[in-house]
Symmetry: C4
Subunit: 357 residues, 4 copies
């Protein structure tokens, strides 16, 4: 862990300590992994046009998100089955995120319960991700538990109409052992007392989700609802119409449909469609402070970071994640200073030069 | 065969079991193979813009083609000399295609007869490819036999004014042994009783084909005629004028003139020129479910798939082809679901983002 | 030689038989060799849009050039010091070109005399390249000798204001031994009787050439004058004004100024500026029949081919060059047939699709 | 040194003789070094459109800069800590630059004093770079000393609001030993007599620099002030408003914020904004004579060259730098001749073809 100079290096370091099948599960994307790669390439296609002599001694990295305030414009993305990665699962990362002032978005398919993770991440901005269940009662119970535990927003993932075809997973399938991991965030159906094995997640998820389903969740939820997995500007407009409070521009880290537009490339049109009606977040390929700078410039309020946190968790649990968030914070701060931006909130499109293909 | 996770992997697996000269014949393209490579790259240059929350539980993959109905929007492309690849030649692939609900387009230069292959592919959508012969009587006889055997359309290949200069073939020429293979689909000239050796195909083909020749075939054929090998929109207009029912946008898999526009790149203009007058199909580089999705979006009714079927045939005959078509079907289904498209027929240009070069 | 399937392969084959310093001299370009590489890449950036069903049984490859007729739209480019490559220097290539119906443009810095090469290439289209000399008398004498020997056009090279900085040459300088080679095409100054050693070429060339100098040559020459080394359309207009009969779009094969526009990229604007006032030729990177097809389509009347002829000469003298020209002719013929063009003269811009970068 | 044929080769040669940590410090850039690489790539994306027959026997390479005249349109860029590279630090390079007629811009963080370097570079165009100090008195003293020593312009570096995150440095940090190097150009605070150790540079620099600070320097300085580190055209306008005499388009050689636009790409808009109000210079990636040609064509009056001079200094001190400047001068001369430009001053945008990406 301590040998990494940036978040990108965590992948190779983590590969050295993780079970190969678990690494395949975390690192892989769908199909030829073109979208996964393109998520990164989209940042490299953009150019920053910095301004100088702004008299900046320090920069303000805070970001106001859905009623909470982040000390840095970053949230940990929801990632299922962190128990595969570290025995403490989400507990360490949630604690590290709270300490760093980053948000934490807990996966609905976590291996620790909503309440337990909320306790670990106490003091931080906490969001609860939700895959709506086939049984609406389970969905309602999940929302109620999340709100009771202090999660400030619900993040409904909308890009899993089916599992993506992740070929590293298919090849490693026999080797991936979920063992005794369970899904304590998934409410038990009436009469069931045994915790749900992690391998059975798909049996409970509702794949044929519709705008009506999401509308019902928005109506029922006492906290803001964010839709994660929006690429088309038209879907951002529908999200606003159905009462969502925000959207996460995301292609699920390239893990669902290969060939989908890179998140950063999709961001400007979504941000324009969102206008003031929705808060817009970016997920996918964020590894550098300059990535965050570009995302802010193109309309995001903050970024979600996924795989690097998983790798940091594998390498060092809470301490590892703290180090990763520390490196990222330092890079963001440096990027704002050198781009001539006094605060995350003021970063605008003027600092983005034309794309170089 | 069973080790392949996708159609792309079939090539390397097949290379391991095929005679090198036969592999060179199947795998190679003309010249520097730029067009062959670009056929694949053209898919990679496009981006998919998926829609979410469409309430999709399943998707309808059927495609209506020239009076028949496919269970999946795929036809096996005509490929000469499958007898080089598997002792049963086209018999296994035709059987597998019929079982999968994919169409089967039998090469005029097959090593089994029209009737025999029709029997193997009974119940499926069958098309008969035709290289018009120097002897018009042979052409008429081929058409009559094809129609009598139940082929629902004639596919006239129009891009072989000469053989392409395939350098892998030239290098392997001495090693390629057609042995006792014959061309039982080629009608015998009057008085001839010996079946035509496969190596003599070119002696019977009419290379200086004209629109008049094709017009005569259309006038004579009791089934719809599809022209395969159209790249220019202007030729699609001429195809409609001469009474063709459809066109296959194709550069012969990069096997004829190197440097020709990739099939997918040529598709939109051809589809626009075709309007409602012609059914449009795409051939060239299709390996992935997302490739089919993009082709449908840009105007194709279905895709032709060639080399991967040859490789699957080499690896496992009917069973191999069934597995290949099964993988492709699963990918198409997944692609439609994740792009938010309820059916193959409804896939339109709105799901295509801008090209990234 | 006999192992080559195309002109591109000649380079590696020739490297195996040539003196390394001579190979460096022939193969190298200026600076980082970006323009040399880009000359080839420019062809790869273009796409061909073929037409079908034109009823073509054969194609007419002839090209009318400055009062002569080529059997194929190709001329051998002027290349200095062929005596380094083969003991017979230009004699074999000139003979092979005449036999193939390709033109032959003899370098002013050849190691055989104008008359001797004209005899070898008798019956073919012969042009004489000229680096105007510091001594105008020598220039006049060169022209007179060329005309007397039957050369039908003068090709004045205009892009050598200084030698290009060819780094392979600089590195190999000590190893390159011009030995006893002389320059018999360079007229001797008054009173001099010793033939000029090849190494002293630069001492006689006039580097500070102007439009006035060229105008004087045009006025004095009894044959048409072609300017070789034009990239800017503005210079094509000046060429027409000064009475030139044609221009060769050329960057000297990337041997002069690195970073210059690729020849093919420069061609369309030069051809437009030339209109009917000038014949336009293309030089640089031509290796394939499809390259010639694209050059004709974008405005060239014929192409000059350089290095591959040098390699063929090294590999097999006249026989080697005959084989190279034979391969090229076969490719051009195939390209025209498959693009649906009945003759070299009718190839036009409509067969060129858009550039793919 | 003597083995290098061009400036690019100096890097590998120097790597062989330099301490690895010092090489990392000189060669490295910020982050993923994308901007450092792109500075070079930006030249490769441009194409030169040369003109011919201009009657050029020689070219005039002189450039008038802020009241001085360079014999070639090149200045040595300010580079800190040359004492790490060669025991004589800037003395050798300054002497070589003066001899070659290139300008010399002495770093404010040099390891030899302003006066000592001025003596070494006597007769040449000398500029003094300045990182304004936290203590305004030190800034005033630095300016006074520079002017007294004969420096003709002050170059205020404006793109160091913080140190860039140079990862090669971070990895090599423990190994980089500044030893006894000091910063004799940094004036001593009142009462201090010990020279300032090189490692303490950052303690004296004012990072939160504003336009007001620069305005005050301009007002106080008896020589022209040039701002180095301008990328945005808007900042060029502000530079003119605050009284600067010139700007250096620069991203600090890719050493500050990774992802910033390449210098050459930023140049045209800055040059347009500058109009006649400012002299414009280009810094970043200049290694070739054609690079200088392109920079002149796109609006620069001269180029700054950094790392290659450092490498040449490491390889051979004054002699090494003389050789490097000699190679560069020869390339510039060749480039102008072959582009048809009679003088550096007349190079204009007409010789630049369109960018090829």
């Amino acid at each position: 862990m301590m040998d990494a100079v940036n978040l990108l290096e965590l992948e190779q370091l983590a590969r050295g300590v993780m079970d190969p099948a678990v690494f395949a599960y975390v690192a892989g994307g769908a199909g030829d992994e073109r979208t996964m790669v393109d998520n990164r390439a989209a940042f490299a296609r953009r150019r920053i046009e910095p301004r100088v002599l702004r008299g900046l001694g320090a920069v303000d990295l805070t970001a106001d998100v859905l009623g909470g305030r982040l000390a840095m414009p970053v949230l940990v993305a929801p990632m299922a089955h962190q128990g595969l990665v570290h025995p403490q699962g989400d507990l360490g990362p949630a604690r590290a995120a709270a300490a760093a002032g980053a948000g934490y978005c807990l996966s609905c398919l976590a291996n620790h319960g909503l309440e337990e993770v909320a306790a670990a991440g106490a003091g931080g901005v906490l969001w609860a991700q939700l895959y709506p269940f086939r049984d609406e009662g389970q969905t309602r119970e999940h929302i109620a538990r999340a709100v009771a535990a202090g999660y400030g927003a619900l993040v409904v993932t909308v890009d899993v109409q089916a599992y993506g075809l992740r070929e590293r997973d298919i090849r490693a399938a026999a080797a991936l052992d979920m063992g005794a991991l369970t899904l304590p965030c998934v409410p038990l159906a009436a009469g069931r007392t045994e915790p749900i094995p992690a391998a059975e997640a798909g049996e409970h998820m509702k794949f044929d989700l519709s705008w009506d389903d999401v509308g019902a969740i928005v109506a029922a939820a006492p906290v803001p609802v964010v839709l994660k997995g929006i690429i088309a500007a038209g879907d951002a407009r529908l999200a606003a119409e159905c009462g969502a409070a925000g959207v996460v521009v995301s292609n699920h880290g390239g893990r669902q449909l290969d060939g989908v537009t890179a998140s950063l490339d999709a961001l400007p049109a979504v941000a324009e469609a969102a206008g003031d009606a929705l808060e817009v977040y970016l997920d996918g390929g964020v590894r550098r402070g300059t990535d965050v700078l570009l995302a802010l410039a193109l309309g995001a309020r903050a970024c979600l970071v996924g795989r690097p946190i998983s790798y940091a968790n594998a390498l060092g649990g809470a301490e590892g994640v703290a180090a990763a968030l520390g490196m990222l914070r330092a890079e963001i701060e440096n990027a704002l200073l050198l781009a001539g931006c006094g605060s995350a909130a003021e970063v605008g499109p003027s600092i983005v030069g034309s794309a170089i293909v």
